[in-house]
């Protein structure tokens, strides 16, 4: 009996995202039809096999998404909503770019120092929200939204101060990272010059560490217990305030790494064109992947895939590639709805199972969804 129960559980877990994908597919198609665009052509392009270059791009942008989503997921496991990953990674990437640009240390020591700076700055920026919550009871949702906007203004201001002006260019950016401190990529295909970020391994390491700490350590147990029931956590001897601050710091620290593959593998400087909005994509992907390290990886690849495959739509079909943002947003909304529906259904199943296993229906009370 356990076997079949286990099977239902797995089926339900897979069923929800599949359901969400189908729903997102239908809704997007509906939008395309209403707008009079070529539905078949759009899906034909998006669902085709990527080019060699496309694979590389997908892996690269999934790497960045992944880090962002893990940062968000750390908060989620504690029932903390870190909307501020967006601000945290930008402040952190700026700080790292400045440190790396100065080149105080040689070669990879410089890289390591810059990454350390990124982690510390990201953690500190998130820590403000954590401290406000434990000392003043300010909801981290509101404070991180505010901190995002403050980060935007602060980075713009500091960038103006720290920028080096290229003559003939109106792009403001920090000093370039010295050649020796850059992290080179590796080739996936010989046919294209594009390379996969070397720091893809950083994402893998972060994902593994996340999985290990959350699931295998007592600290991870404390974190999950607090997220599951704050009151029960207090009674069990967990210092919840400390956990709130620590997990905000960890989440912010992870957020600090989001910009690193871009900084050391692509841009080599922080400028006004540095990719923005990664934090919000991270929220979406963490939700999609249910905070599970493998689920998040799949979600990140899916988002990156949609981004990459929609790029040529404008040229090929005269359809704005922004259509996939509708798809992505719809996936998030439908996936959380699907998870909620499945959760309720699963709980009902479990209650039935408990009742029938005991053959003692009338004593079962107080088990509400």
């Amino acid at each position: 009996m356990m076997k079949s129960a286990q099977k239902t559980k797995i089926l339900l877990a897979i069923g929800a995202p599949v359901l969400a994908l189908v729903a997102a597919f239908l809704i997007t198609s509906l939008v395309l039809i209403l707008a009079g665009d070529d539905v078949g052509g759009v899906w034909g392009q998006i669902l085709s096999l990527p080019s060699d270059r496309g694979y590389v791009n997908i892996i690269n942008s999934a790497t960045v998404y992944y880090l962002s989503a893990v940062a968000v997921a750390i908060g989620f496991r504690m029932n903390l909503f870190n909307i501020g990953v967006d601000g945290q990674y930008r402040v952190a990437a700026f700080a790292a770019a400045v440190v790396a640009g100065e080149g105080w240390l040689p070669g990879y020591f410089n890289t390591a120092l810059a990454m350390l700076a990124a982690v510390l700055v990201g953690a500190a920026w998130a820590g403000i929200a954590g401290l406000l919550r434990v000392t003043r009871g300010v909801s981290e949702v509101i404070s991180t939204i505010m901190l995002n906007a403050i980060a935007t203004a602060l980075v713009a201001y500091l960038l103006r101060k720290a920028a080096v002006k290229d003559t003939g260019s109106n792009i403001t950016a920090t000093k370039e990272v010295p050649e020796g401190s850059r992290v080179g990529g590796f080739k996936l295909f010989d046919s294209v010059p594009a390379t996969v970020y070397g720091l893809v391994f950083l994402a893998v390491a972060v994902g593994f560490t996340y999985w290990f700490v959350i699931n295998k350590t007592t600290f991870g147990f404390d974190l999950r217990a607090t997220g599951s029931s704050e009151t029960a956590a207090v009674a069990s001897g967990i210092n919840v305030k400390k956990m709130v601050v620590i997990s905000m710091l960890l989440s912010g620290g992870a957020a600090g790494l989001v910009g690193m593959p871009l900084l050391f593998g692509n841009d080599y400087a922080y400028g006004s064109t540095f990719q923005s909005g990664l934090g919000f994509a991270g929220i979406a992907i963490a939700l999609l992947g249910r905070n599970h390290p493998v689920g998040i990886a799949l979600g990140a690849l899916l988002f990156a895939f949609l981004d990459e495959q929609s790029n040529p739509l404008q040229i090929l079909l005269d359809v704005s590639p922004d259509i996939v943002k509708i798809t992505q947003g719809t996936i998030v909304l439908t996936v959380v709805i699907a998870y909620e529906v499945v959760r309720r259904y699963g709980l009902r199943l479990e209650q039935h199972r408990v009742a029938s296993a005991l053959g003692d229906e009338t004593t079962l009370k107080g088990a509400k969804a």
Binding site: L132, G137, V234, K325
Partner: protein
């Protein structure tokens, strides 16, 4: 049980309401202070009629977004999808305003915002999805949808393009010339208090859009319908204690649903105002985070329309000074903030608050020193004002804030008892 959220637990009789008389007295004090500040610093643009009119135009979208937040949160639904619904509103105004008529644009903005609200309502009320999650998703969807639709609608139109609409015809506006001109003369004299009053009066009779007046009326209408009608009582009860409301036969689901759709309509109108009055085109990225500022204004205003209006005014004012190249003007404001903080510190110390008092005082002194040792504030930093203010209000005055008791909590039918 001591859990983290205890810090915001109710302190009895928090947030006493200001009486009408006191509000008038404080307004008068503020006016005198402002006038004095203008004369001391010589920053005449601090309260010129141009600044004030621009403030009004900047404050209304923030205030409308805040009203959207207010309607939803009074019914217990947190709506951080306001930004997305505003974006939908800008497009609605641009599309219907350009292709049909600016008034239809207003309706289009409200309708598209309300559709965003409807999605939020279905997700949070019907399916019990976390309110924040749904809000984030709506922000993503709206942004993508509007970018996609704008490219479809405006590419190839004269003056339009992928990311912006052609110019939309203006909504009617009016100027009371017989009042405006003499007031202008009076304002130019730069007399203490008198000229300031003239500037305020002139801002209200010159080049005022009809939509501006309608939007101001919506604040009164919101207050009246939420606090003076049985509809409003039922709606608020859903945010305070849905179980109690349900136990008395109130259809909680319906009220929450209605509130969130109305909330979306307000946010849509806020976006429409940006496209139709504050500028005369739809542009991608036009909202610039004003949905979030609206939310901040609502918190600043303690979930009440009057306070929200004050918050929107404050945030609109700082935004205006920034846009009017007011590095120096805002620099003048530093002095006011410094004096205000030091006065507040003295008051806190007399109330026996040994930690908050010195902290406030120290911040005041630092800002005062900043005033004396600088000439101007960088424009980038002034953009932070609404956000920093909100964080400070939350951090320093959280005990006085009173959000609806069941705000953000999931509700399912049959929870009475």
């Amino acid at each position: 049980m001591s859990v983290v959220t205890d810090a915001v637990a109710a302190v009895p009789a928090a947030a006493k309401k200001l009486s009408y008389g006191w509000i008038m007295i404080w307004l008068a004090v503020g006016l005198v202070l402002f006038s004095a500040l203008r004369i001391v610093t010589g920053a005449d643009d601090l309260d010129s009629s141009g600044t004030l009119r621009a403030t009004l135009v900047a404050a209304i979208p923030i205030g409308l977004a805040g009203l959207g937040g207010l309607w939803a949160e009074r019914a217990g639904i947190v709506n951080i999808g306001l930004e997305g619904m505003m974006i939908l509103g800008t497009f609605g105004a641009g599309f219907f305003g350009y292709f049909v008529d600016p008034w239809v644009g207003v309706l289009g903005a409200i309708a598209l915002g309300a559709i965003g609200g409807l999605i939020h309502a279905v997700a949070t009320v019907t399916f019990g999805v976390d309110h924040i999650v749904s809000g984030v998703a709506i922000n993503i969807i709206s942004l993508g949808a509007v970018q996609y639709l704008a490219a479809l609608a405006f590419t190839g139109e004269p003056g339009g393009g992928q990311t912006q609409s052609p110019t939309i015809k203006s909504l009617p506006s009016f100027t009371l010339g017989f009042l405006s001109d003499p007031l202008s003369d009076l304002e130019q004299k730069h007399w203490f208090v008198v000229s300031d009053l003239a500037a305020i009066a002139r801002a209200l009779v010159t080049n005022l859009s009809v939509l501006t007046i309608l939007c101001l009326l919506l604040f009164v209408l919101t207050w009246w319908s939420l606090w003076r009608t049985s509809f409003g009582l039922r709606l608020r009860s859903c945010g305070e204690s849905p179980a109690a409301a349900e136990s008395l036969g109130v259809n909680v689901i319906r009220y929450k649903f209605t509130a969130v759709v109305i909330s979306g309509g307000f946010a849509g109108l806020a976006g429409g105002f940006l496209a139709l009055v504050a500028s005369s085109t739809f542009r991608d990225g036009q909202t610039g985070g004003r949905g979030y500022i609206g939310l901040a204004a609502m918190i600043f205003g303690n979930w009440r329309p009057g306070g929200l209006l004050a918050g929107a005014g404050l945030f609109g004012y700082t935004d205006t000074l920034r846009l009017r190249g007011g590095g120096e003007t805002i620099h003048g404001l530093l002095l006011l903030v410094a004096v205000g903080l030091i006065l507040m510190a003295i008051w806190q110390l007399r109330k026996g608050r040994r930690v908050a008092g010195p902290v406030t005082g120290a911040i005041g002194v630092v800002i005062g020193l900043w005033y004396f040792f600088s000439d101007s504030i960088p424009e980038d930093l002034t953009g932070m004002t609404p956000y920093v203010t909100t964080l400070l209000v939350l951090a320093l005055a959280s005990q006085r804030l009173r959000m609806p008791a069941a705000d953000g909590k999931p509700y399912r039918k049959g929870s009475a008892g």
